[in-house]
């Protein structure tokens, strides 16, 4: 058996050497996403978005055949680091694309950028990687984490809400969310309530909200927590009385479970499935046909990440060895983003528009978020000025 494999390998090597068109090795991309646990659906959207882009690009990026290696970080930073080392040392990937969660991004950042491999985030945008610890090998096709929350803070301020009730899970991202909201909101915060992570029953919070009568509530409740909160908020009769502002709570990963309870609720985002560009319409239709779900922003970011890599490799003629040339090509971001305007700031994070989006029921009965108004134009994140990369 061993002999056979060796012979085959030799034969393959000979064939390769005699076929110059095949001479270029396959490009290797490691997809690092959360694909198990309660938050797996976010990673699935990103994976499907990336794979859809690969299909649309004919299976090639910048003219090269591609090997996409998908790994599950299990939402555990230590597991993610082990798997990333496998991607870097065993598979020798040219790009790492991912992750969803910021704790994974922070833990895996150093091994990836130290090995001079480009790291393209499709969601996580922790403040330190946008600011002080920014790195020329790190790019995000998503946003800095605070920005979606800032959208709601700005909206609450502009609409003249006097008293706002804040609600978040008690962990780092929850606290960051509320401080993001407060960046533009200057009114009174009558309560800043933290519930344990993975709380599923919000009835006692709802009683407090009803008794305090705020002008609006702002919350960040990703995953199953958001499903429950929205359903219970609607059932308690609060949805028609106290506006429900949120981020990462009412989105396409949760809407299939929230159903009609979420209709009319407001979120902040850099994109929505109904955005009116030819590319986006094609993307949403193809995604729905292939995966039987309305894509969430995670899918869009991953799709854009594939387009970004494709555009950069086209500029370098498919070469990845000259890192500076490749970086300059990435920086130019010469692709048509599904969200419209897109360019990179010096810190590798996008400068883009942000919108207030509203959960809406489409005529075919499916739910999606739809753009309600533009809140920020060509918006740079608050940490970019702390980043020391200059070029």
């Amino acid at each position: 058996m061993k002999v056979t494999i060796k012979t085959l390998g030799l034969a393959a090597a000979v064939t390769l050497a005699t076929a110059p068109a095949m001479a270029q090795e396959k490009l290797k991309i490691g997809l690092l996403l959360t694909l198990s646990g309660p938050s797996a659906v976010l990673g699935q959207h990103a994976r499907d978005g990336f794979q859809l882009a690969m299909k649309d690009l004919g299976g090639k990026l910048g003219g090269r055949d591609v090997d996409v290696i998908v790994v599950d970080d299990e939402l555990k930073p230590d597991v993610a680091v082990t798997k990333v080392k496998g991607l870097l040392e065993r598979d020798k990937v040219d790009f790492v694309v991912g992750p969803i969660f910021s704790n994974v991004a922070v833990a895996t950042h150093k091994p990836i950028v130290d090995s001079k491999t480009f790291y393209i985030s499709v969601n996580a945008g922790p403040s330190n990687l946008a600011g002080k610890s920014c790195n020329p090998y790190f790019f995000a096709t998503s946003y800095q984490n605070d920005q979606n929350h800032e959208v709601l803070g700005k909206v609450a301020q502009d609409r003249g809400y006097k008293k706002v009730y804040l609600l978040a899970p008690n962990y780092q991202a929850g606290k960051d969310a509320l401080s993001g909201f407060k960046r533009h909101y200057k009114g009174e915060i009558i309560e800043e309530s933290y519930v344990p992570l993975n709380t599923l029953d919000f009835q006692s919070e709802l009683a407090k909200i009803a008794s305090m009568q705020p002008d609006a509530i702002f919350t960040f409740m990703p995953g199953g927590m958001g499903v429950n909160l929205v359903k219970q908020y609607r059932a308690a009769g609060l949805a028609d009385r106290i506006p429900f502002l949120s981020a990462f709570t009412v989105d396409e990963t949760n809407l299939p479970a929230q159903q009609d309870a979420a209709v009319g609720m407001l979120s902040g985002s850099n994109w929505a499935p109904n955005m009116d560009t030819a590319e986006n319409k094609k993307f949403v239709a193809a995604y729905e046909a292939a995966y039987n779900a309305v894509p969430a922003s995670y899918a869009m970011h991953a799709y854009d990440a594939a387009l970004l890599i494709d555009s950069a490799l086209k500029a370098t003629g498919g070469k990845t060895e000259d890192k500076d040339a490749l970086r300059n090509a990435i920086r130019k971001a010469e692709f048509k983003s599904l969200r419209g305007d897109f360019k990179f700031g010096a810190n590798g994070f996008p400068i883009q528009d942000f919108y207030l989006v509203k959960a809406t029921k489409r005529p075919d009965g499916k739910l999606e978020t739809q753009v309600s108004e533009k809140v920020f134009d060509d918006y740079t994140d608050a940490y970019a000025k702390e980043c020391a990369i200059t070029n």
Binding site: S36, G37, P38, S39, A40, V41, Q44, N170, E191, E192, S193, Y194, V195, P196, N198, L200, D201, Q203, S204, L206, A207, K208, A210, S211, Q213, G223, G224, V227, N228, K231, Q232, A235, A236, G237, L238, R241, T253, N254, P256, A257, Q258, Q259
Partner: protein, 306 residues
């Protein structure tokens, strides 16, 4: 206003406590009667929720879904008993913990494999979809009252069965001294199987009842399992009465603590410090309570008589 708020929060605490009781009842019997640590009890709660989600989607009605889910949960519990747990009774606790932990991982992945990772939603049954305005601006769903009622009915039934029937007598006897019961000619293995099956069904019932108000998702049983263990430790292992009272206490302490701790502390601290400290202490309250109970009554509030 504060009195109404207090009343509502007490109602919330009661409802939470009753759900905890449904889970803890099976757990305490299995632990008390069989001396068997079943970490997989939480996933049986999850399985109940998934079954009712699947069956009500299939039949189009929550009532039918519940009717079909209960026997299936029972059958599933019995199947697990026959396939896995039966072989663990004579092993030590560490091996039971490892094996049942394996079941958690296996079942969490299985439901994800079958139903996907995204949370499922179960519609509230039509007849109970209304709500009552019990406080200015706050509607209280009728369905939550139905949960309270169902919890109380099940508790009463359990009390009757355990205290006034022959099977209940055997269960109580088994909790006190299993080998003696066996020596008297009772098939203790079969008794174990029945207890186990019904424990699994009760957990499944709890999962089915909360499915319309919570989202059904993989891993939903993992957090509640810890609370169920707190309940049986406070209540006294093997005691249904203890589990009932401890579950209500935990439900009330947790819910009221979270809502009113900051207000209470405001009497002694300035408002911002009070709300900071209140937030920090509230989630710890039940564990502080458990530590206190263990300090004064190491075998719980109502231990099964030995």
């Amino acid at each position: 206003m504060t009195a109404t708020l207090f009343f509502i929060q007490a109602l919330n605490g009661l409802q939470f406590g009753l759900i905890l009781f449904l889970i803890a009842a099976g757990l305490t019997l299995v632990f008390g009667v069989m001396d068997f640590i079943n970490l997989a009890h939480g996933v049986q709660y999850m399985v109940g929720a998934y079954l009712v989600a699947a069956f009500s989607a299939w039949t189009g009605s929550f009532g039918w879904g519940l009717l079909l889910a209960l026997p299936t949960a029972l059958a599933f519990g019995l199947l697990l008993e026959v396939l896995v747990f039966r072989h663990l009774y004579d092993r030590d606790h560490l091996e039971q913990v490892l094996a049942t932990f394996g079941i958690i991982l296996f079942l969490n992945q299985s439901v994800k494999f079958i139903w996907g990772a995204a949370p499922l939603s179960v519609p509230v049954p039509e007849v109970m979809s209304g709500s009552v305005e019990i406080m200015d601006g706050l509607l209280y769903p009728v369905y939550r009252m139905a949960i309270i009622a169902a919890g109380l009915v099940v508790a009463a039934l359990l009390y009757l069965v355990v205290s006034h029937t022959r099977v209940g007598m055997l269960v109580r006897a088994g909790a006190t001294n299993a080998s003696m019961v066996s020596a008297l000619g009772i098939n203790i293995r079969r008794l174990f199987m029945i207890v186990f099956g019904f424990g699994a069904m009760l957990a499944g019932f709890a999962g089915a009842m909360v499915a319309p108000i919570l989202s059904v998702q993989p891993g939903m049983g993992d957090n509640i399992l810890i609370l169920a263990f707190v309940v049986i430790v406070i209540g006294g292992i093997g005691s249904i009465r203890g589990a009932f009272l401890a579950a209500l206490l935990i439900g009330l302490v947790d819910t009221l603590g979270r809502s009113f701790m900051p207000n209470l502390l405001r009497l002694v601290l300035d408002p911002s410090a009070a709300s900071q400290t209140g937030r920090a202490i509230a989630p710890m309250l039940i564990y502080i309570f458990m530590a206190a109970v263990l300090f004064f009554r190491p075998s719980g509030l109502f231990p099964a008589k030995r």
